[in-house]
């Protein structure tokens, strides 16, 4: 009889390719043999001994298929499972219990692995308001959302993605608020994902986007549960991916990145001013270097005389043309940025010294670059961080606008800008206009646009998301 249990254990062991973290135990009692299998890397061996093995040992004489579940301590989730789900349960960190004197397979949750405690995300710090951030563990993330929405309408739907990794992707939405068509559409898209593995939520982005080759972001993301919850209250669907602290939200509109969680925890007048500044920052970041080049090369007659003299003075004798100079400074900033991201923190100060003093100051003194060029490029690079979520897109746009401004002047910039806006206006994922609530103008949603009204005036969710059909056609 013992042989049957041993054979089963051997079979499981083979399925796990004799992996070192595969663990098994055998307990022999009067009635027969009981087998236990689990993964040491995903389960807690102490919990296993205390809550499962010892109680069974204590009740060895009276144990039967009927009372086994009652013997195991009740602080663990226990369920009967089918044989096809055994591997999945073991992989989830559960112990699977089986025997030769009963036919059921019992799964006991003793999952334990190292997780990070929720802390303030480094990408979105706030002065006021909640400081919790999502972590890599999906269960913690689900709890962080559930804690904020005490409603039976909050739904979590788990799907598995990745032929090898079988990563948990959890769709979460508020049933009465979210658009059913969007939920269905996302579920459909996720179920069709064919990929070996999902390491981060970013991996599924391109599968959800309508135009995966587009430069522009089409799916929202956040590391903060309060932000995700507020988006869900607007009717959006959140997607939690196991092992990723970034939660995705759909549908997405550009205005979302102009908003910060801080806006909702401060005076609304102040928030409106800050949003205007962010908008201005975005504009400066995109066009400032190109515009400066256009003025310098094509439209110098527009510049006030004093400014023109300053530029003429400082650019005299430079070895580069203005176009190459701006490109050179831009490249320098980009290199410093990449270096500062990857350098160990104790070398950060050294990078600043090298960047600011040696490359900047000495470059100007050596007559390689001009001070206005450095100022304009630095301004554009700093302004970029008024909307950090758009950093990657803006960097590419900066290069495009430098080329346009340097080769075609202001006309190039105007044409480029209108081209981009026209393109953005074609983005209409999940029937949500990308530039809403301004293009098309959705009057009701302007309350949380650049000008923010107090929370007591925002009574219903924005219609940009709630209604599936395009508004302007109605």
């Amino acid at each position: 009889m013992k042989q049957i249990v041993e054979e089963k254990i051997e079979n499981f062991k083979n399925q796990f390719h004799d992996s070192d973290d595969f663990a098994s135990r055998i307990f022999i009692c009067d009635q027969g043999t009981i087998g236990f299998v689990f993964l040491k890397s995903m389960s807690d061996p102490i919990l296993f001994s205390q809550n499962i093995y010892l109680p069974i040992q204590n009740y060895a004489k009276t144990i039967s298929s009927d009372n086994l579940i009652n013997v195991i301590l009740k602080n663990n989730v226990i369920e009967k499972i089918e044989s096809k789900d055994i591997i999945k349960n073991i992989l989830d960190g559960k112990v699977v219990v089986f025997s030769d004197f009963f036919n059921d397979y019992i799964s006991v949750d003793i999952t334990s692995y190292p997780t990070r405690t929720p802390s303030e995300p480094p990408t979105s710090p706030v002065i006021q308001g909640p400081r919790e951030g999502f972590v890599e563990d999906f269960k913690t993330n689900m709890t962080l959302i559930r804690r904020r929405i005490h409603s039976k309408d909050l739904v979590f739907e788990t799907m598995f993605v990745g032929q090898i990794t079988q990563t948990k992707v959890i769709l979460t939405y508020i049933d009465k608020v979210a658009d059913k068509k969007v939920v269905k559409h996302i579920k459909n898209k996720i179920s069709k994902i064919k990929i070996n593995g999902i390491v981060d939520s970013y991996y599924i982005l391109s599968f959800l986007e309508k135009r995966p080759n587009s430069l522009f972001k089409q799916i929202g993301n956040s590391e903060k549960p309060d932000v995700v919850v507020s988006k869900m209250l607007e009717g959006k669907v959140a997607i939690i991916v196991d092992n990723s602290p970034i939660v995705l939200t759909v549908p997405f509109i550009l205005m979302e990145d102009m908003q910060s969680s801080n806006d909702y925890y401060t005076n609304h007048h102040y928030s409106s001013v800050v949003r205007f500044i962010r908008m201005l920052g975005l504009l400066i970041a995109i066009v400032a270097p190109g515009f400066y080049l256009a003025l310098q090369l094509f439209h110098y007659n527009i510049l006030p005389l004093n400014f023109l003299i300053t530029i003429a003075d400082t650019t005299q004798g430079l070895p580069f043309t203005p176009f190459l100079e701006i490109l050179f400074i831009f490249l320098l900033f980009q290199i410093l940025y990449e270096v500062s991201l990857r350098l160990p923190s104790y070398l950060g100060l050294a990078t600043s010294v090298v960047g600011a003093l040696i490359l900047g100051d000495t470059g100007v003194k050596a007559g390689l670059i001009s001070p206005p060029g450095v100022i304009i490029t630095a301004l554009a690079k700093i302004a970029l961080y008024t909307v950090p979520e758009q950093q990657s897109q803006i960097t590419v746009l900066q290069i495009i606008f430098i080329i346009l401004g340097g080769s075609l002047g202001i006309l190039g910039i105007v044409c480029g800008f209108i081209y981009v806006v026209n393109y953005l206006n074609t983005l209409n994922d999940f029937d949500t206009p990308y530039m809403a609530p301004y293009a098309p103008r959705i009057r009701k949603d302007l309350q949380d646009g650049l000008i923010k009204v107090p929370p007591n005036d925002m009574k219903s969710p924005p219609s940009s998301f709630a209604g599936p059909i395009n508004k302007e056609g109605k």
Partner: protein, 358 residues
Amino acid sequence: MKTISARQTGIIIFLTIFANKILLLPSIMYQKSQADAVFVMFGIFALELFILWVFLSLKKRYPYQNLQQILKKSIGKYLSKVLIFVFLIFFLFKTILTYSVVYVYLKDLVYQDEFGFLALVCFLPVVNHAVVCGLRAMGRTFELFYYLILAGVIFCLAIAFFTEISIPVFFTANVGAMFNSAFTHLFSFGDYLVLFVFIDKISLEKKDYKKILSFAFFAIILVLMIFSIFYAKYQITSFMHNNALADLLVFSVQFNAIGRLDIVAMLTIMTLGLFQLEIFQYAFCESFVMVFDKLSIKYAIAVFDILFFVIYFILIGKYELMIQLTTQYLSYFSLLSNFIVPIIIACCLFKKKKELKE
């Protein structure tokens, strides 16, 4: 179907009425009818409301059909194609005229050297892309820029108004000269015709008619204000200033002392010009697809580009030739497209109404 809202339609009307009348037209109209060009404009605008009325009646009766489907029922397939072909030619030359006017402005005031091909390189891909993006994306873009454009125009007007101006001398041209002026510059009008070619892509309800009219009236008032302030500012030298909106700023001496404000006019005119090109090229492509119903809009764009390149080398940059073409030959054509075709459409409408009553 991807449709545009009443507000976006209103903005399209505003842009088409406004954009091609603020650069060259005030100056060339002054040559025929002096400051009384304002009254000539007023007269044509009033007459043109007939076209708008025909459009709104058509939309009310056939909310979901395109122009060809509407006309086909009344006058048959081939005659309907002929009428739409008239529109096609009208929009082709309208686009060319707009290119020419913007080109003259860019060459004279912005780049101050030979610039033709550069302007072409900039405009053509953007306009083509906009047409590919479709009317809905274009409508949204116009909506986004509407207030910025308005602010730019009002800024130019305000600056000109608060510098040295005196009341223009009206009632100097006789009635004949005024009629002559109206006829010769007819090609610069007929802006409501664009609405006919994408009638099926506009979502309008009865309550929206007021909105459409308000945008049209607003554009008309603004154009008349520009004409009046321009003539008030330059008086008898008005004919020398070919870029009215920009010239309102350029010669505002007091403000120039502080800093050059030309950039406002520059950005406004470039944006307006580009938008108008988008609207007219889109209208051309829609007409093309209706006439040659087996070809897609991408073919229409390709045909437009080829025609444009051909006409570009004949016309654009040749100021005198362009004026001659628009004021002499195209005036007769405009009479056909701006009034006779809408009258035929109106007759079809009445015929249908009568048939329905019977």
